[in-house]
Subunit: 432 residues, 2 copies
C-alpha cells in the first residue's frame, strides 16, 4: 500500500511546525511554498527599520527540513484546490493528497481602499520590509536636500496607521532612528525634529493588551518622540499625506507627510477564500476559513486550515488571534491527529494554550502580559529579546541577530540601512 | 574668504578614501553618490552565491564620514559636468566646485552585445548580486521539478563567461554550492551532477597572474567540479544557452544552459565619457578618462578622475588595472595634492605601489602573487581571508562576515540563499 501523502501548503510557523512533527514518520510529506525560505515575521519590522538584514530572519526551507528524508519541498505557486478530487492546483500542474494542510498566512487589509497600498505600504513580506526601509531612509535624504521648510517638515513627518503590536514596534523604531541613529548624520536637516504619529481608531493603542500595559506603552512611545493619535480614522491617503476624521467631533483633519505606513489590519491569504469555496464554505469578513474543533473543514475531515488564515473559535467563543503561537501549536496538533488516525487512535479537539503576549517599543522598553503577571520597561524588554531569539529558526540566525542587536545597543547604529532596489536612481524613486 | 570646496563624485574606494583624507581639514567637502552606501565590491560574489547578506559588505556612507563635520553627503544622480563653469550637473540641480574628484567606477562590458545583459547578467551592484543569487537558486529549484532529463541538465549547467578573478570566484563558489551546500537538499535532482563551465577567450584563466599560479587555480577549480574552457569566444546568448566559437578550429559549439553569468569585461561608468567630453578629451576603448601624472585631466588641473574609470599610465606604460588598491591609493594622493596646493606646496606625480594580487577559488584554496613570493592552497586562502576582513569598512561588518564564514566553514551551509524580488512568483520569474 502506498504511504499516506500529506500535502502542506505554506512554510510559515504552522506549516513548518507540522512538517517537522511529521518528519521521519511513516507518511510521505510534500511541503509547498512560493518562497524558498521561512520568514520569522515577528522581527520583520527590524528589517524595515534597518536593524537586521533579510537573511538574518529567514531560513531556507530546504535546509530546515533537510534531515527528514520523507519530506519533499517544492517551490510552486498554489492557485486553487479540488477537494472532491483530492488535488491541489498549481500554476504549472497539480498534486494529489490524502491529507491537506493549508497555512498560507495573511496579507494586510485596506478595508476596500486597496488603491492606498502603493502610497501606504504594509509589512508582511521581505520585499515589503525593504520597500518600507527605502521609503523611510529616502525621506531623510530628501529632507536633507529640501530647502522649502514646509516641504521638509512633510518629509520628516512619519505616519503609522494602526496601533497594534506591528504599528507600535514600527513607530518605536522610527523614534530611535530619528533621535539616535541618524542624529549626527545630516548637516542641514535635523532628524530629531521628525514628527512620528501613530494613528489608531480605538480608544487606546494595543487593544489586545490590558489597559495598564497599553498606557505604559503609550508613555514609552512619547519618550521616543512618538505621538499616539487615538479615535481617528484615515479617510484618504495620497502622495502628500493623509486625511483623517476625528471619531468624536466628526471633523476632518489633514497631516502632510511623505511617509505613511499601513499597520491597520490583516486579511487571510486569497487562498483562504479559494479553499473555503472549494469546500462549499464562506470565508469570514477577515478572509479566514471557518474550521471545526480539530482544525479541519466541515465535511472534509482530511483538509485542515491553520494559522492566520483560519477562523478557529476559542474557548471564549472569540476567534483565536492571528499570532505565531497559535500557528505553532496548531501545526503539531494536526500532524499528531493525522498520525493518530493512521494508527486508528482518536484525538481530542485542539485547545490553544495562551502563554502570554509581548510587544516591544524600543531600547529598554517593552510590555509583557502573562495573565496575572504584567511587566513593563527593562524586564519586559529582556523577556522580549530572549523569547524572540529562542524562537528564531537556526542557530546561525540567532547568533547573527544577537550580534546586530549588541552592536546596535552599544553604538545606536543600524547597519542594514541600505536604500536598495532595481536600478534605483533618486529621480526614478521620486516618481514612485 | 570662502573655504575651498572639493566635490567628490562616487563613494567607492577612491572617493571614500579621498573624503576621509580631507576629513576635518580646512576645506569644505561635498560627497555625492546615487546610493546611500559604500559597497565592498571584492566580496560581492559572496552575496551572489548566498554566503553573505548585502548589508554585511555595505556601509552607510553617512555613518562612515559622520565624524568629519566638514563633509556633507548628498544622495543624488550626477548627469554631467560643466568644467569651464566649475559645476557638477545633477538630475535635480547643480553644484559648484573649486576642485572636483570623479570616481564613478565601472560597469560590465558586453563589447557591443548589450542585448545579452538580461540573459547573462554581470556583477557590479548589490541588485546584480541578488539577481544572480535568484537565478542560481531558481535553476536548482527548476531542476528539481523538471522531469525531462535533457531540460534538467540545462537547468544544472552553469556557464560563467570570463576567467578573471570575478569569474573564477563565482565558478568556485558555484562548485561549492553544488557539491556541498545543496547536496542533501533535493529529492529528485542531484546538485552534485551540475556542470559548471568557465569560458575564457585567452590561453589560460587569470591572465594577470603568473602562469604557475593560474595553472594551480585551474587545478583547484577542477577539484570543485569546474571545467575551464579556454580559447573560446561567446558568439550568441539566448534563453536556452550560449553559442561559442573555438579559437583554434574556428568551429562553433553550443552549450545548453539556463544560467549564464557575465564576468568578461568592464567599462568605465558613463560619467567617464561625459567628463572626458566636457574636458575636450576622448575616453579610451574601455570607456576610461585619460589622466595625467597627478590624476588630473589635461588642461584642468583642479579636475581629477580616479579608480576604475580613469586611464592612468603606470611606470611600464600600461594602464593601471581596475582594482581596489589603485583606487585606495589615488584617493588619498589627490586629497594630499589639494591640501598641498592650498599651502602652496608642490606634489610629486602619483606612483602606484603594487602590494600583490590575490584570488580565491574556494575552501582552503586561493592564489597569491607578491612578486617573487607566490603562494597557493591553504596559505594563500588564509591570506585572502585576513586581507579581505582587514579592508572591510566597519568593525561590525568584519564581525558579521567572520560569523558567516565561520558557520559556512563548519556547516557547509550558506545562510543567505534567499530568492527575493518584488512580488516574485515562480510563473512570473520564468518569464524573465
Amino acid at each position: 500500500m502506498a504511504q499516506h501523502h500529506v500535502v502542506i501548503v505554506g512554510g510559515g510557523f504552522a506549516g513548518l511546525a507540522a512538517a517537522k512533527a511529521l518528519g521521519n514518520r511513516n507518511v510521505q510529506v510534500t511541503l509547498i511554498d512560493r518562497r524558498n525560505f521561512h520568514l520569522f515575521q515577528p522581527l520583520l519590522y527590524q528589517v524595515a527599520t534597518g536593524g537586521l538584514s533579510p537573511a538574518d530572519i529567514c531560513a531556507p526551507i530546504r535546509a530546515v527540513v533537510r534531515s527528514y528524508k520523507n519530506i519533499r519541498t517544492i517551490l510552486a505557486e498554489v492557485t486553487g484546490f479540488d477537494l472532491a478530487g483530492k488535488k491541489v492546483l498549481l500554476a504549472d500542474g497539480e498534486l494529489g493528497f490524502d491529507s491537506l494542510l493549508v497555512a498560507a498566512g495573511a496579507r494586510h487589509h485596506y478595508f476596500g481602499n486597496e488603491q492606498w497600498e502603493p502610497l501606504a505600504p504594509g509589512l508582511k513580506t521581505i520585499e515589503d520590509a525593504t520597500a518600507i526601509r527605502r521609503k523611510i531612509l529616502w525621506a531623510f535624504e530628501s529632507a536633507e536636500r529640501e530647502t522649502d521648510l514646509e516641504k521638509r517638515l512633510a518629509w520628516l513627518t512619519f505616519v503609522v496607521v494602526g496601533g497594534g503590536p506591528t504599528g507600535v514596534e514600527l513607530a518605536g523604531a522610527l523614534g530611535e532612528i530619528a533621535n539616535d541613529t541618524l542624529k549626527e548624520d545630516f548637516r542641514t536637516c535635523r532628524p530629531e525634529e521628525s514628527r512620528i504619529l501613530l494613528l489608531d481608531a480605538g480608544d487606546k493603542i494595543l487593544s489586545n493588551f490590558p489597559p495598564d500595559l497599553a498606557e505604559a506603552a503609550e508613555k514609552a512611545l512619547l519618550q521616543l518622540g512618538v505621538r499616539c493619535l487615538n479615535r481617528r480614522y484615515v479617510t484618504a491617503v495620497d502622495e502628500d499625506g493623509v486625511t483623517i476624521r476625528l471619531k468624536d467631533s466628526g471633523t476632518s483633519d489633514r497631516i502632510a507627510s511623505k511617509t505613511v505606513i499601513w499597520a491597520a489590519g490583516v486579511k487571510g491569504s486569497p487562498l483562504a477564500a479559494s479553499l473555503a469555496e472549494s469546500a462549499g464554505l464562506v470565508a469570514d469578513r477577515a478572509g479566514r476559513v471557518p474550521v471545526t474543533g480539530d482544525c479541519s473543514l466541515a465535511g472534509f475531515p482530511n483538509v485542515f486550515a491553520l494559522g492566520d488564515m483560519a477562523a478557529f473559535a476559542g474557548a471564549d467563543g472569540n476567534m483565536l488571534p492571528g499570532v505565531a503561537p497559535v500557528a505553532m501549536q496548531q501545526g503539531p496538533y494536526v500532524a499528531k491527529l493525522i498520525l493518530n488516525r493512521l494508527a486508528n487512535r482518536t484525538t481530542e479537539p485542539f485547545r490553544y494554550t495562551d502563554k502570554g503576549n509581548l510587544a516591544t517599543i524600543g531600547r529598554h522598553s517593552a510590555i509583557a502580559d502573562f495573565g496575572t503577571f504584567h511587566a513593563t520597561g527593562l524586564v519586559a524588554w529582556v523577556l522580549w529579546l530572549f523569547i524572540h531569539l529562542m524562537f528564531l529558526v537556526g542557530f546561525q540566525n540567532r547568533l547573527q541577530v544577537l550580534t546586530h542587536w549588541a552592536f546596535q545597543y552599544i553604538s545606536f547604529n543600524r547597519n542594514a540601512r541600505l536604500i536598495t532596489a532595481n536600478a534605483l536612481t533618486p529621480t526614478q524613486h521620486k516618481g514612485t
